[in-house]
């Protein structure tokens, strides 16, 4: 019978392996699955490729994972933040690789990866340095570049409410990359504020249908990055 509830957060991330590609939801702190990321730090997997729009803030969550030296490569659109020096220091000293992708291209590449689309054309980045190495093609007199679908071994995302079938809804702008990442990862791991029985979410308002979700763990009162940073927390 279908029940995706996982009792402990350490069990939820136990099988993330060295060298895995891990998509992590969130735009800035909104939607960042802080507790899952901290569990991944505790778990110890290294040499990871991480897909996220940013590179974290302070020394918690994603920034802490990077600081701990577990991330070999970041795929992101905006690896700068006002309050974190973790990524810049590693990057300048050549200890972390960066694949810079325009934000909309990143979102669409993840969606394509989840949709079985190996490549699509976009006008974004045409005529810029980020076009380098990409195939160009003309449609209707305008130039476009070929971008490739992006998939991952795991996705770590944060939901507002889940049911035991894995159906999810999100909270406001915390939704951002999570629904697409859930489709693009082989194993999607969710931390949710609230877990309900099937039927506890109106079928009309489900954002991520359960077939995209493998594991759900309840974190009833998730931390916000900004609060941790303000409190001077450095994980672990």
């Amino acid at each position: 019978m279908i029940n995706k509830d996982v009792a402990s957060i350490s069990d939820a991330v136990a099988d993330i392996f060295d060298g895995a590609t891990v998509m992590i939801g969130g735009f800035g702190e909104a939607g960042s699955p802080v507790e899952l990321i901290h569990a991944l730090i505790d778990q110890g997997a290294k040499n990871l490729t991480v897909v996220n729009n940013n590179t974290g803030s302070g020394e918690v969550g994603l920034a802490a994972l990077i600081k701990a030296g577990r991330v070999a490569k970041m795929i992101c659109s905006y690896p700068r933040s006002m309050n974190s020096t973790v990524f810049p220091e590693l990057y300048k000293s050549g200890r972390i690789e960066l694949e810079l992708v325009p934000q909309g291209t990143l979102a669409e590449r993840i969606r394509a990866g989840g949709a079985g689309i190996p490549g699509f054309y976009t006008a974004t980045s045409v005529g810029t340095p980020l076009e380098e190495g990409k195939e160009r093609k003309t449609f209707g007199g305008r130039d476009y570049v070929l971008e490739l679908g992006l998939t991952a071994d795991f996705a770590l995302i944060k939901a507002h409410r889940a049911d035991t079938h894995g159906n999810l809804i999100y909270n406001k702008t915390a939704r951002n990359f999570a629904p697409a990442m859930a489709t693009a990862a082989k194993v999607t791991i969710v931390q949710t504020r609230e877990l309900v029985a099937p039927g506890g979410i109106d079928p009309e308002v489900v954002i991520t249908p359960g077939l995209f979700v493998n594991r759900v763990v309840t974190v009833a009162n998730p931390a916000h990055e900004s609060a941790l940073v303000a409190a001077g927390v450095s994980y672990p």
Binding site: I2, G114, G116, N167, P198, E204, V206, P209, G210, L211
Partner: protein, 209 residues
């Protein structure tokens, strides 16, 4: 045939059922298992037909018949529905067939006749994207011609896509070596099935061989 197919579906599977005999499979969920049915027009968690008089014209399946939704269901639009199909997120699809070739080629959308109105629906998407493709079909056409053949003569739905075939005579796997007999219906002999099959059948290996 429908109940026989249901026996082979693992617990927890996400399943898309084609129109016709495949639709009947939903009635035969084995004890202790739970399947979630997807219908490509925008519902995951499709339930049984509504009681007479309780259906809704805006809650239908891909065959355009009225259905219901189970607790834990979700509605979505067409592009998202085909993300599920084409992105490899549906475990199993059960389809009907006009012909299946020994290499797994499937023809099930058109006889290619000059007068036929071509209509493909979601069949090409399903065979290209779903992890496992089962076919349920009568072993022969109404005129007695084999539907399991060396090479399809009708236009393809997809090349080398079928994994397993359930007919009124047998259960047959598509393998790199060709049609592999897996199970034979009660009272039917190997020769009887082979005579009605348009390509060589590999016999069931004896358990001690």
């Amino acid at each position: 045939m429908a109940s026989r197919v249901a026996q082979d579906i693992p617990d927890g599977s996400y399943v898309n059922l084609g129109i016709g005999i495949p639709e009947l499979i939903a009635k035969f969920v084995p004890e202790g298992r739970e399947f979630i049915y997807h219908t490509e027009n925008g519902l995951l968690g499709m339930g049984p037909s509504p009681e007479p008089g309780e259906g809704e014209p805006e809650l239908i399946n891909a065959g355009k018949r009225q259905v219901t939704a189970i607790p834990g269901a979700s509605y979505f639009h067409h592009p998202d529905s085909f993300v599920m199909i084409r992105g490899g997120h549906i475990d199993l699809c059960v389809l009907g067939a006009l012909q299946v070739a020994q290499n797994g080629d499937l023809a099930n959308w058109s006889t290619g006749g000059p007068d036929a109105i071509p209509a493909v629906g979601g069949a090409m998407d399903l065979v290209a994207g779903v992890k496992s493709i089962f076919v349920v079909t009568q072993h022969c056409t109404k005129k007695g011609a084999p539907k399991l053949v060396e090479a399809c003569t009708f236009p393809l739905t997809g090349p080398a896509v079928v994994d397993r075939i359930y007919t009124d005579l047998a259960v047959i796997d598509v393998t790199p070596a060709g049609f592999q007999l897996v199970e034979i219906s009660p009272g039917v002999t190997f020769d009887y099935v082979q005579e009605r099959t348009g390509a060589p059948l590999l016999p069931i290996a004896s358990p001690t061989a």
